[in-house]
Symmetry: C2
């Protein structure tokens, strides 16, 4: 018997039939002797429906405290789905109770629409668990110090689930979703992609930030910080499959590095074609230029990903970085009109048709030559590398967008991810 948190996404809660299946699955776990806390998302489509109504009312002139009201509005989606799940569990004969964020309370700061959890009071949850109840806690929301409703941003229910699991010291937090785990890469690009049985938090962080949509990145950070074992698994298996089979399915995201296992050098290939590359050319190589360029970009609320400054030559250097493709034109305009003249740089050039491909693996820390193997593999395919960026467990390259699939497949093969191994077999 253990203390377990289940989190169900919007698709899993998308209809009364699906909510009933969630209830049956949770009831199965409870009957097997586990103490259960469940964190559901809003029914799929509900949050979008609500925000569309708000948009109709304030298309272009959101007023003072707009964020506060948006949060009060959006939070109703999870409150409704949580109550519905409680009703479904009760109909299954369970004693169940649902709590909104403010009732727990889940305390956050007051950064409306993207609040951060500051503390969770576990007293009420724990008392109910001890009384044999299934406890349902709304995902995505909390309450600020002034008693206003806040939400955690898109995908925030993952973070809620992990934070609740940390607060009550759950044995494991199971994230039920519409995919059955974390893969070596996207199976739509590489049919041979395999599901990972386990992956480290560090690797998961890199993969999540590289555009893997499985988990909200903040939830992975949270899980790593509080050492909550996370499991990503499918909510579309039949609810009545064997519990032990279910409990070991999907992908376990773990903070334990198991020493017995042969560590794979590379665990996965991530990629992202939502970026664009911008280079400021002929920048006088003086202290402060990075800040002068990126400071003005940040002031315009544009997020920067890869940043590279090349070697200086004759007192001049080139400065390159990537931004989200949606921000490409805005950034180019900003640089041309203001930054280049102010810096005395010679020009700014950009390319929106690029992509970023990364190899990610804890094993890179202890293996030399992994990056070289990556570069050689790309070279063998005739793919030119435009930018390189490395971290301890990741090497990323920016290449022409048209080579993306070719590069991902080549790297997947190069690092033996096509082959089941003892440690990674699905």
């Amino acid at each position: 018997m253990a203390l377990i948190v289940h989190k169900y996404g919007g698709t899993s809660m998308g209809s009364t039939e699906r909510i009933r299946n969630v209830a049956r699955r949770v009831a199965k776990w409870h009957r097997a002797g586990h103490q259960m806390v469940v964190v559901p998302s809003a029914m799929s489509g509900e949050t979008n429906r609500l925000l569309a109504l708000a948009k109709e009312l304030a298309p272009d002139k959101p007023g003072k405290s707009h964020g506060r009201e948006l949060d009060a509005l959006a939070a109703t989606g999870e409150q409704a789905s949580s109550a519905l799940l409680a009703i479904a569990l009760q109909a299954e004969g369970m004693d169940a109770v649902s709590y909104s964020g403010w009732q727990v309370p889940i305390k956050t700061n007051d950064a409306y629409t993207k609040a951060r959890i500051e503390s969770i009071d576990d007293a009420r949850i724990r008392a109910d668990l001890d009384a044999g109840k299934v406890v349902i806690v709304t995902g995505f929301q909390g309450v600020d110090p002034q008693g206003n409703i806040t939400t955690l941003g898109r995908g925030g229910s993952d973070t809620s689930a992990v934070a609740v699991a940390a607060a009550i010291k759950a044995a494991e937090c199971l994230i039920y979703t519409d995919v059955d785990g974390v893969y070596t890469t996207d199976p739509r690009v590489v049919p041979e992609a395999r599901r990972l049985e386990r992956v480290s938090f560090e690797e998961m962080l890199e993969m999540a930030s590289m555009g893997s949509k499985v988990l909200q990145i903040r939830s992975v950070e949270f899980a790593g910080k509080y050492k909550v074992p996370l499991r990503v698994l499918s909510s579309f298996t039949p609810w009545d499959i064997d519990l032990n089979e279910e409990a070991s399915s999907g992908t376990l995201i773990t903070f334990e590095e198991s020493e017995e296992m042969e560590q794979a050098v590379v665990s996965g290939i991530a990629f992202n074609r939502d970026e664009a590359k911008i280079s400021v050319l002929g920048v006088p190589d003086k202290p402060g230029i990075a800040f002068q360029i990126l400071g003005s970009v940040a002031d315009a609320n544009i997020e920067v990903d890869v940043i590279i400054q090349n070697l200086s030559k004759e007192g001049k250097t080139d400065f390159s970085f990537t931004v989200h493709r949606n921000d490409f034109q805005k950034t180019m305009d900003l640089l041309k009109s203001k930054v280049v003249p102010a810096l005395g740089a010679s020009d700014v050039v950009g390319d929106a048709k690029i992509c970023k491909v990364s190899i990610v693996g804890i094993g890179m820390r202890s293996h030399v030559g992994v990056a070289s193997r990556m570069f050689k593999s790309l070279s063998d395919e005739g793919i030119n590398i435009q930018m390189i960026s490395t971290s301890e467990i990741k090497t990323s390259v920016v290449i022409d967008e048209k080579y993306m699939e070719l590069a991902v497949r080549a790297l997947h093969r190069e690092f033996d991810l096509d082959q089941p191994t003892d440690t990674l077999a699905a």
Copy 2:
């Protein structure tokens, strides 16, 4: 400049276009110098949609704490519409803030789905009003002493509005709805029916309890208790009509008996065809029989309206009462199987094809012969009276259902309600 509460029903909040009109109307009042508190219902259809989902999940086996979860579910409708109205007001340039029941807080008992308001803290509302904000308070809901969400039952938003108005000592509580006031009787039955400019609380209470659907009866009780002037008016007038014209439209429900005015003897004709009549015959006339009969009916959760016990004859009496037509068969079965044998009564007979017609008027207190005029008028039309029940300001008769329209029209004419008068002219 006054402190005003507006309440808008579900139809008035039924679309973003309508919510925008509500916002413009409220903004108009605020700009005219009034301090504004607004209590909106859920968007029309929303509460039914939510409860239908619950019904799908627990069609016939609602579990423990079912009511608690139903309330958490249903309360989301008003939370969403309140936030949307705040957003619409902000888009109109107003500073607006919305509060759920628990945020005010509106404290209730824990009778889920039909909770009663116990207290309202006006501090937060008052501080916002003093800061120049429009304050929106969710209707229909509150929070119990344990911090659980409660709802006040169907039509509860009227009660919320009146309770908030009482708590903040508002000058007037305006109930915007889809009718333009209280009428002498239903215009669908009597085309000559006229809108009343003002009506007393006592009369409104009798009319509301007689099936007039304009206001939730509890809200009228509340308004009478706390002496909150209430006005029922249409939300379908253009939002930009002259404020003074709007402020004097509809029907004012008042606790002030104006002495200058000639009091009409009868203010309105109410009717109700949702009832059925049941008579227990040949009941031994002993102390306690009323309790023995009605106690068992009440235990079965059946509400009784008119109750009449006839004169005893040879130690036996007949005991008659009316119930809602939906409860007719259940009540008959209960009496036949249990009560009649236990009492040693001779029989029980019932009739579902009846209706109740009432004349209501404060003036009845000071005028004699009003009931006789009613009986004569019905007799002139050849209508047989089956039961009679009277109170200080109301006389009700139970007659054959088929005579209902005929009776209502005859009485409307008899008491000169077709004629505009100085005091009642619309």
